[in-house]
């Protein structure tokens, strides 16, 4: 009996020990998981995706989105990166000073300024900030608001986009472009005769969708020149990337209010921190904008417990990189360190990047340039490739230099049209190269063939 009792006691002890070991090993697993999670957070693997257009806008918060970085690959251009990530050429250039727009170095880390301070305007309908060249579409009510934002191209210094309050008067898909007399005259001076109307299609600068504003003659529309987004290139209209204007068109009913402002200096808060974002003012900007911003900052400083770092304010203003920078902790315990940008994986294919068809001996070509410097040749080829509609162009290396070759073109008409466009738009005297006939040497660069200067 005693023996039986003793054995059961031993067995109970063993069970207790086994239970303890099991609990401890489970605890061990939990600890390991925590360590692994921490490690995962420390070693930053690039994220595949980043939100670029749609952001929640909490009440009382003025800063949306997050900065990101991407590593360039061979052959990338900043306009291609900008389009893929929903940015304008102005924004990506300002955020990355010193980086060659057309021939950046492979491996270079590029900041994607995907964080924005909302303009100082009622959060209703469409708000366009000309200085930042960005459109904000406020959707939803005051409690749960979502803002969609897109980069835009705006009016030139000579023909600026007007500021003020307007509304969407009507909408049209596949609009016809009625060429304004001023534009027709500009083209005539260069020897380019424009028709009175340009029907929908690749040559129509309005693209596939147009929102006509209540201010007569001004539109928000698509484009056949996507590389112009983020430039002062229009006659007062606002143009969007084709993929963005389609979304905006579908999301915006007629009579939606449209506010057009010009605010190069923006201030706003997020999580108790005051941010400032500065852009290079447009030539026709109101000189008082800077003073207005300083006055606002002085008022905020008086109200807050902290002291504003005016040296930093000046630095942000003079650098004008278009990135929200934290400048003041509005409440105790708020972090004024800029959040780390998110590392984004380079996509396999950049959306909208111009594609260059293969070389073929049966096609027509245009010799656009013959230069010694490779960078110069690559830059020119990239610029030609980003014309709207695209003129495919590539660089051909030779023993003593580089040639920029536009084409292939299906027929003489297409090639002659390219020669004309190269001359009118880029002041390039292209040389027409006709296709090789049977038994003839290749007309491609390096081999002489019949050429015709246009």
């Amino acid at each position: 009996m005693l023996r039986i009792l003793h054995l059961s006691l031993v067995s109970n002890r063993l069970r207790l020990i086994a239970l303890c070991v099991l609990i401890m090993s489970l605890q061990g697993c939990a600890v390991m998981k925590n360590i692994q999670d921490k490690f995962r957070n420390v070693t930053s693997h690039p994220d595949k995706k980043i939100e670029k257009n749609d952001f929640p806008a909490a009440k009382g918060e003025d800063v949306i989105g997050r900065l990101a970085v991407v590593r360039l690959e061979k052959g990338d251009t900043l306009p291609d990166i900008a389009r893929h990530f929903g940015l304008g050429i102005n924004a990506i250039s300002a955020a990355n000073p010193g980086v060659d727009v057309w021939v950046p170095e492979a491996g270079e880390r590029i900041i994607l300024p995907l964080s924005f301070i909302l303009p100082d305007a009622p959060r209703k309908g469409l708000v366009v900030n000309l200085a930042t060249m960005r459109l904000f579409h406020f959707k939803g009510d005051g409690t749960s608001m979502v803002v969609s934002t897109y980069p835009v191209g705006v009016g030139t210094e000579e023909r600026p986009t007007p500021t003020g309050q307007m509304r969407v008067a009507r909408k049209a898909t596949r609009p016809t472009w009625h060429v304004p007399a001023s534009i027709a005259a500009d083209h005539r001076k260069k020897g380019d005769i424009l028709p009175a109307e340009v029907p929908p299609g690749p040559k129509n600068p309005l693209g596939e969708y147009a929102l006509y504003l209540s201010k007569s003659g001004y539109l928000i529309h698509g484009t056949n020149k996507p590389a112009s987004i983020g430039l002062q290139a229009t006659n007062g209209c606002m143009r969007l990337y084709p993929e963005n204007v389609k979304t905006l068109f579908n999301d915006t009913p007629v009579n939606t209010p449209v506010a057009i402002v010009n605010q190069p200096y923006l201030i706003g808060q997020r999580n108790g921190v005051l941010y400032m974002e500065a852009h290079t003012p447009l030539e026709n900007s109101d000189a008082g904008e800077l003073e207005k911003m300083h006055a606002k900052l002085r008022t905020i400083e008086k109200k807050s417990a902290g002291t504003l770092d005016w040296k930093k304010v000046k630095e942000v203003q003079s650098e004008a990189r278009g990135i929200p920078v934290p400048i003041l902790a509005m409440r105790q315990g708020s972090e004024t360190e800029a959040p780390e940008p998110l590392e984004v994986e380079h996509p396999d294919a950049l959306y909208g990047r111009p594609e260059i068809p293969e070389l073929t001996l049966k096609a027509w070509y245009v010799l656009a340039a013959d230069v010694r410097d490779e960078i110069e040749a690559r830059r020119l080829a990239a610029i030609i490739n980003h014309q709207g509609p695209q003129i495919p162009a590539r660089v051909i290396a030779r023993d003593n230099g580089f040639r920029v070759l536009a084409g292939p073109f299906n027929d003489a008409g297409e090639a002659r049209d390219a020669v004309k466009r190269l001359k009118y738009d880029l002041d390039i005297d292209g040389i027409l190269i006709d296709p090789a006939r049977k038994g003839q040497a290749s007309p491609l660069p390096g081999t002489a063939h019949r050429t015709e200067r246009r």
């Binding site: 060659d100 727009v101 057309w102 191209g153 030139t156 534009i183 600068p205 020149k225 590389a227 112009s228 430039l231 290139a233 229009t234 006659n235 410097d373 960078i375 110069e376 830059r379 020119l380 610029i383 980003h386 014309q387 709207g388 738009d425 880029l426 002041d427």
Partner: protein
């Protein structure tokens, strides 16, 4: 007395003669030394001149190298300026081409 005088004379002449002989050989020795020193001086002068010439040549070379480096730097700067200008010109042309 005469013998005594002769002896004295001899005694006087001999050392004088000996001194004379000694002075001649010394002179020859000095002359030889002078020649040697002169030759050495010549050599030293030649060496110095050669060294100076080498130094001058080196300086010339250095100056030339500096000038060439400066020229190369200037040329590089000029190339950079031209490249910058070309890039700006290309960019301006691109921006113009983006208008309607």
């Amino acid at each position: 007395m005469k013998k005594g005088l002769l002896l004295i004379s001899l005694l006087l002449v001999f050392p004088v003669t000996m001194i004379g002989c000694a002075t001649t050989s010394e002179l020859e020795k000095v002359e030889a030394q002078q020649k040697l020193i002169d030759a050495k001086a010549d050599q030293a002068l030649q060496d110095a001149q050669a060294a100076k010439a080498a130094a001058d040549a080196a300086k010339l070379k250095a100056d030339d190298a500096t000038a060439r480096a400066e020229n190369a730097e200037k040329a590089a700067m000029e190339r950079e300026r031209i490249a910058d200008e070309k890039a700006k010109k290309a960019d301006a042309a691109f921006q113009k081409s983006m208008k309607k």
